[in-house]
């Protein structure tokens, strides 16, 4: 049995929440007079314990949101997560998911913004998708398939695939400027794409 950090934090947050709940319920049921001692333990139940539960819970939640299972919990994303985990698929998502460095977080690794605040920026951007999911009629067969709101950045691929080596293929050398400017996408059809085979039915103009 392995103890990973998110699971430990999850357990810690639950313990803190339980301790806080015990204190608060005790106060609400017994209603002791507000002496100094009562205020001190009540403060523990309203301050440090819930704050610890919230901090540990937030961290655990952020870690959970990186997992592929979390992405697939919106049913419109299931074909994409299934394609990623399909060992027979030749899509980029599947090829990368097979890599142990991507593992269970393959969606996040490829779709996260690069940079110091990449996690926060990615999660704030993800709120747009969540809003779209809960407000759109995704059961309607005429509804457009899920799509990125911005073109996929080549920098994301180049985090791992640096292209400044002498072994660079001719196509990269020819299209170097277009690749760097983003005019040519690594994951587009005709280059290395499509990233997901389910995207073959996507409407024209969608990444």
């Amino acid at each position: 049995m392995t103890f990973e950090m998110p699971h430990l934090l999850n357990a810690g947050a639950l313990v803190c929440a339980a301790a806080s709940a015990v204190i608060l319920v005790y106060y609400l049921v017994r209603r002791p007079p507000l002496s100094r001692a009562t205020r001190v333990w009540l403060f523990a139940g309203l301050g440090p314990f819930p704050i610890a539960a919230a901090v540990a819970g937030n961290y655990a939640n952020l870690e959970v949101t990186k997992e592929r299972e979390f992405c697939g919990s919106c049913h419109v994303m299931v074909p994409y997560t299934e394609d990623a985990t399909n060992p027979k698929s030749s899509g980029l998502a599947s090829l990368h998911t097979k890599n142990k460095w991507f593992g269970n977080e393959s969606c996040y690794t490829c779709h996260a913004d690069y940079g110091m605040f990449g996690l926060v920026v990615t999660k704030i951007g993800g709120m747009h998708h969540v809003w779209d999911y809960y407000t759109g009629d995704w059961h309607n067969p005429n509804h457009r398939p899920p799509a990125l709101y911005k073109p996929y950045k080549n920098e994301t691929c180049r985090q791992c695939h640096a292209h400044a080596s002498t072994k660079e293929p001719m196509e990269h050398k020819v299209h170097k400027e277009a690749i760097e400017s983003g005019a040519v996408g690594c994951a587009k059809k005709g280059c290395h794409g499509p990233p997901h085979h389910v995207r073959e039915n996507a409407q024209p103009g969608e990444q």
Binding site: N10, V64, T65, F70
Partner: protein, 113 residues
């Protein structure tokens, strides 16, 4: 809290501390209406905090997009407000006691009578 009447008075030679000069009145000395107001606020703080904890625990047990978003936004906001409500009620309590202390102190003209 309150200094008991049984406490022997300090000798005149002993240096008087500020705490000895300004005894803090007990909760009983605070008007009943104020006590009721403070206790009501503390109870509401506890109830709101329990709701916030429920939302946080919901996200931990069921890590799906909606619970996680609700816990990290609504849950945090409610939890913060409940803590502020509690601290506000404590401040109200301290202010009420402070006013009582001030009123009970001899002020030269009227307070000593």
């Amino acid at each position: 809290m309150s200094k008991g009447k049984d406490t022997p008075p300090p000798s005149e030679d002993a240096p008087k501390s500020k705490a000895d000069e300004t005894p803090v009145p007990s909760m009983k000395a605070v008007p009943a209406q104020m006590v009721s107001k403070i206790e009501s606020r503390v109870r509401w703080a506890c109830i709101w905090s329990l709701i916030a904890l429920g939302l946080i625990v919901w996200a931990l047990i069921q890590p799906k997009p909606l619970p996680v978003i609700v816990a990290m936004s609504v849950g945090q906001a409610i939890g913060t407000l409940s803590l502020l409500l509690f601290l506000g009620s404590v401040a109200l309590d301290i202010r009420a006691r402070y006013r009582l202390t001030k009123r009970s102190l001899p002020t030269g003209k009227s307070g000593a009578e």
